[in-house]
């Protein structure tokens, strides 16, 4: 992706040449049929399911036999379900916390790692390592490390004067663990994004600032941050949509517990669908999740400027 600097990208569309040389440019142009395979595939496994979710949310279905149409029953139940209300709050808090924890760390690490010193290169190679592990693997590692009786935590806790080692059994503790473990897992990716972004910033900007006698902090505030705007948007959208849909980590680390204190929306959906077998109700939760994810992405894109987002998209 580093072949052409973003600024040098040619205009997306060729200059209008509809009239003349009619045959020439037409010949190489693909017909709309080229989109069909991709569209069909996406349609059957992503768009059609969306429609089915909407339909199933109006039914009662236990996974066996046929769904029974029950109108808005699931939706009225959803609106009054305290567990769902809690799950929504937990999801929002988790999303906000994820962003607040991961963005500053990734941004600083990324900018730091963008420097070309040897130490930085060596350390960034190590920072990258969690990316090689799947969420399932990471959740299992942390679960083992935090086992209250047989893990390193059981060894450390009494030595630092903690009353018990039951971090995952404590509602706040378990929630913090999820924030920390997902940060451990995803900060490397976002660091990488910021590292890539920071390397695109023209060095001349810094040189000019240096001549003006700007300090390091001023340069960071007035050059680095504004220049990273697009990266911040992209990374934030990825983070937020990601946090809204954490599932593996919660299932393995806490199973939604203790009680239901880490039952965030996607986990509640899984529980309703595949443990309680209320597929219709689970579909209503799922649809809420889609609407939320879409709304959040749109809002973030609006807030940070649609134009910026657009060019980021095109630049991908």
């Amino acid at each position: 992706m580093s072949a052409a600097p973003a600024t040098a990208r040619p205009a997306a569309r060729p200059p209008a040449r509809r009239g003349g040389a009619a045959r020439g440019p037409r010949a190489g142009r693909p017909s709309a049929l080229w989109t069909l395979p991709g569209l069909l595939f996406f349609g059957v496994f992503a768009a059609l399911p969306m429609a089915l979710v909407a339909y199933l949310s109006l039914t009662t279905w236990g996974g066996l036999g046929d769904p029974r149409f029950t109108g808005l029953d699931n939706w009225t139940r959803l609106a009054g379900d305290p567990v769902m209300h809690r799950a929504v709050v937990l999801s929002l808090v988790l999303t906000a916390a994820t962003w607040a924890v991961q963005t500053p760390i990734s941004l600083l690490l990324g900018v730091w790692a963008a420097g070309r010193q040897r130490t930085r290169a060596v350390l960034s190679a190590i920072f990258f390592l969690p990316l090689l592990l799947s969420s399932a693997a990471i959740a299992l590692i942390w679960r083992s490390l935090l086992d209250p009786n047989f893990g390193p935590l059981a060894w450390i806790a009494p030595r630092v004067g903690a009353p018990d080692a039951d971090l995952l059994g404590d509602p706040t503790g378990a929630f913090l663990v999820i924030i920390a473990v997902t940060a451990w897992q995803f900060i490397p990716l976002h660091t990488l994004l910021y590292q890539g972004g920071a390397r695109q910033i023209p060095a001349s900007l810094y040189e000019a600032a240096e001549i003006d006698g700007a300090g390091r902090w001023t340069a960071f505030r007035h050059i680095t941050l504004p220049q990273l705007r697009n990266t911040i948007t992209t990374s934030s959208v990825l983070m937020v949509v990601g946090a809204l849909t954490y599932f593996d980590t919660v299932l393995i680390l806490t199973g939604g517990g203790p009680g239901s204190d880490t039952t965030i929306v996607p986990f509640l959906m899984y529980e309703a669908g595949f443990e309680r077998w209320e597929m219709g109700y689970a579909s209503a939760i799922a649809l809420t999740l889609v609407v939320a994810a879409t709304a959040v992405s749109l809002v973030m894109v609006r807030v940070t400027g649609f134009g910026a987002m657009r060019s980021t998209r095109e630049g991908m």
Binding site: P148, G169, P171, G257, G259, E275
Partner: protein, 422 residues
């Protein structure tokens, strides 16, 4: 990535997929689903014997315990159903029976009276839905028993509890000694449910839960439930389960290991706990593993001889199996002498009528006899609550139990939350 390579990669992928298609259980073997634990060796041996003189080969698919019921239901909704599968009878197979997905076994029992008479009738009954038999008992009986570590008790100069006061004294004693009084796997709330089952039964008798199981959520408001919940609260506050129970998992072996390593003194658990230790810590199982019945409660109306747990587990046969005859032949092998002997050798207590004569072959005849008599003499055998209720209620119920044990809800809130479940 040039084109020919993409093409080559595509070809490889297609080839892989072609082999991958056979990845499911769509082969010509008879699939027997088992809940994965240390008892499966008995069924393994049964399959081996079955395959020795059958054209259709059976194969056991072990499904990890945590997800067994979820996996079963997803598979039952698809074309990859098992042919024969492990279950808990009652509520656990009711949805399949309603959809006509199970083979009724009434004829099998009617045609072979000897087979029908082989099982203790009260236990066989749990495998029937609305009068139709769908299950054949495949395991020993599994009452919930209070296990203890003899070495730990000796060191503390203590005796196993015979009354509730004894039990509370022991809690204080062991807490002082720095030993966890009761191992508890709080991350798997069905283990906490065992406590409530016994407390409710000892306090109010089986009628209290029966009303709930019959579909009346108001039954949760019975004062007995509140009292039981308050006793749980009291136990937790006294430190009966230590500090770290909330994130301990049973299926990962956390609680059992605490008991066998002597870090906990007692463990309320199903009788399979014995086989688990026999497999994981054999020396402890044969030397130091003690057991008593759950003690009576002062002023309780329930018969102290009542038992909670799983009367047994069952094999059921799916209606669409391509091997109906073979499947029946296989499930009928569960009363063969070899099968029964294997069970006993593995520490189980069979639910076949003549089994008591064989109990002397058990690795611990004493334990086997204890269990057998306990179940035989129990006026009521309470099936685990989460198996007796439909999943849409059972799953939130276990969450509420977990919240009660964690102190996330008060006994009053616990009762309210349960009564609100439909």
């Amino acid at each position: 990535m040039t084109t020919p390579r993409v093409g080559a990669a595509g070809a490889i992928v297609l080839a892989l997929l072609a082999t991958g298609c056979g990845g499911g259980s769509a082969d010509d073997r008879m699939h027997v689903w088992m809940y994965q634990d240390t008892l499966v060796v008995v069924q393994d041996a049964a399959v081996e014997r079955f395959n020795a003189d059958s054209d259709v080969q059976a194969v056991i698919d072990e499904v990890p315990g945590d997800t067994y019921e979820d996996r079963l239901r997803t598979a039952m909704g698809s074309s990859e159903q098992p042919d024969v599968f492990f279950n808990w009878g009652a509520g656990s197979i009711a949805p399949y029976a309603e959809q006509g997905m199970l083979t009724p076994l009434d004829d099998v029992f009617a045609e072979d009276p000897e087979f029908a008479d082989a099982y203790i009738p009260s236990i066989l009954a749990a495998g029937a839905i609305d009068g139709t038999q769908y299950g054949v008992p495949l395991r020993g009986t599994q009452p919930v028993i209070l296990f203890y570590n003899r070495a730990v008790f000796e060191e503390a100069g203590a005796e196993p509890p015979e009354t509730w006061e004894d039990l509370l004294d022991l809690v204080d004693l062991f807490t002082e000694e720095g030993v966890i009084p009761f191992a508890l796997a709080g991350a798997d709330p069905w283990t906490e449910q065992m406590w409530l089952q016994y407390l409710v039964d000892r306090l109010g008798g089986p009628e209290v839960f029966q009303r709930i199981a019959d579909g009346d959520p108001e039954g949760w408001r019975d004062p007995v439930v509140l009292e039981a919940a308050e006793m749980v609260r009291d136990l937790v506050d006294r430190g009966a389960f230590g500090d770290n129970y909330a994130s301990v998992s049973y299926t990962e072996g956390g609680a059992s290991t605490l008991l066998s390593e002597g870090r906990a003194a007692m463990h309320l658990m199903g009788s399979w706990e014995y086989s688990t230790h026999l497999d994981q810590a054999p020396e402890f199982a044969t030397e130091d593993l003690g057991y008593v019945a759950f003690p009576p409660l002062p002023g309780g109306e329930g018969d102290p001889a009542n038992v909670a747990g799983n009367p047994t587990n069952f094999f059921s046969i799916t209606a669409d199996t391509p091997y109906p005859e073979e499947a029946v032949a296989f499930v009928k092998s569960t009363d063969d002498e070899e099968y029964v002997r294997d069970m006993i050798a593995n520490g189980e207590v069979p639910v076949t009528v003549g089994a008591e004569e064989l109990l002397s072959e058990s690795p611990s005849p004493e334990f086997a006899t204890f269990q057998y008599e306990m179940v035989r003499d129990a006026p009521n055998f309470q099936l685990s609550w989460d198996q007796a209720l439909p999943p849409s209620v059972a799953s939130p119920m276990t969450t509420e139990i977990e919240r009660l044990f964690n102190g996330q809800s008060t006994p009053e809130e616990f009762v309210e939350a349960l009564a609100a479940l439909q």
